[in-house]
Amino acid sequence: MSLDTMQSNLFSEALEQSYRVQIEEFEGPLDLLLHLIKKNEVDIYNIPIAAITRQYLEYMELMKELNLDIAGEFLVMAATLLQIKSRMLLPATQEEDGEAEVEDPRAELVRRLLEYQRYRDASQLLSARNLLGRDVFARTFDSPELAEMEPQEEPADVELFELIEAFQRVLARVSVDTFHDVVADGISIADRIGEVLSVLHAEKTVCFDALFTTGMTRDLLVVTFLSILELAKLKLIRVVQVESLGSIWLTLSADQQENRPEQEGVEPQENQNSLETAEDAVVG
């Protein structure tokens, strides 16, 4: 059997089409529109919008009759088509100077269709390649020669997504309220603590107010504030005020800055110093 026939059995669009029934699943409104354009053999640069719109809506009507779920995107596109259609019906306004040329109402849609078609074509080229696990096979097992040998450890490839998955697994096992419950804009106190810490690592000294930017939601303000309290409680940061009623400054605590792996016997230096540090930072 040739490679071509084999692949067409699995993937070929052409083959699938011959089995297409009247009502067919489309990937989305763009896919459906391309199909209609192809079926009507019309020029994509000059889409007969009224006819295509009618067919598009007929298709949706059919889906409705068959009780199929119609995704919101199809409805949005229907509205877009109707809007384009009505704009096409308006007489082309004669411009005063003939200068301000009105763009074809269809232009934006055509651009999207062409762009979409490009990636769809590319995806077909991709799937026509010799895919690992479909057309070509590599050895997916350790050869006995290798398996018998003791592996020597070394940090591995690991994807960010795996980390998130691992954490989700943990969460799935633990009841949710064991965590800090305050969450604002998807940011928990713990997240916010991480953010504040990384700002401090980068900036060394940060003005208290700078962490409360305008436009923050009330919840986020609360979370930020609680984060700062938590950090101070953990003695990870110092909160200093240079003069009474002056700005409040946050700095990493001394051992944080030195970044020592072990903290045995390191007492955080107190006050005077930190005030000066803060003041320097204000000036600098």
Binding site: M1, L3, M6, L10, Q22, E27, G28, P29, L30, K39, N40, V42, Y45, N46, P48, A50, A51, R54, Q55, A71, G72, E73, M77, M88, A92, A107, V110, R111, R112, L114, E115, Y116, Q117, R118, Y119, R120, D121, A122, S123, L125, L126, S127, R129, N130, L131, L132, G133, R134, D135, V136, F137, A138, R139, F141, D142, S143, L146, E159, L160, F161
Partner: protein, 192 residues
């Protein structure tokens, strides 16, 4: 004297390992050999395996060398391993190719290009390790940005991202008179 044994050693390593091996990696492992000799050995192997009668081919994918079965024999191999064979939906393929060509890209950008919600597909491609999270985009809302992985290159047998099939050029949109033939459309035979 260096030539033959080195080629044989490299072949052993390629055979035994279940992932593509890069030249760098090989050079690290076979430190007593010259890099240029290594490259020559790989080239020679490449040529030998290209012989039509071999059931194994040496491919260069995702920045590394890997022995793979000859594509024409896929059917027989499936009989043996009863492997179902990877299968992708059109939505998965579309999403993959958009991310491949446009990375780094946000989910919203993928969805604009496809015209449909793509969260579910993207999640399943993440789970299959074909997509990866590259970080967050530095715009308001800090959306996640995505790219393709090394596994993506291996799956499609691509050397690197430059080896992706060339995208078709999009013709410039120059409608000379868009409204000219609007009323007289060839709509008679429209009914499907």
């Amino acid at each position: 004297m260096s030539g033959k044994p080195l080629k044989s050693i490299v072949e052993s390593l390629l055979f035994v390992y279940d992932q593509p091996l890069s030249l760098d990696r090989l050079a690290l492992i076979l430190e007593e050999f010259e890099r240029s000799d290594l490259r020559a050995a790989l080239d020679e192997l490449m040529e030998e395996y290209a012989g039509a009668e071999r059931g194994i081919v040496l491919s260069y994918v995702g920045g590394g060398y890997q022995l793979r079965s000859r594509p024409e024999h896929a059917d027989y191999i499936r009989r043996l391993t009863k492997a179902k064979g990877v299968k992708f939906s059109q939505s998965a393929l579309e999403t993959l190719s958009i991310v491949a060509y446009r990375q780094p890209i946000t989910r919203a950008e993928v969805e604009y290009l496809r015209g449909v919600d793509s969260g579910g597909v993207m999640k399943s491609l993440l789970e299959k390790k074909l997509l990866r999270i590259l970080g967050k985009k530095d715009v308001p809302g800090k959306p996640l940005i995505y790219g393709t992985s090394r596994e993506f290159l291996e799956l499609f047998g691509l050397k690197d991202l430059n080896a992706l099939p060339t995208l078709k050029e999009i013709q410039e949109l120059v409608p000379p008179d868009p409204f000219a033939d609007q009323p007289a459309l060839p709509l008679g035979s429209v009914e499907g």
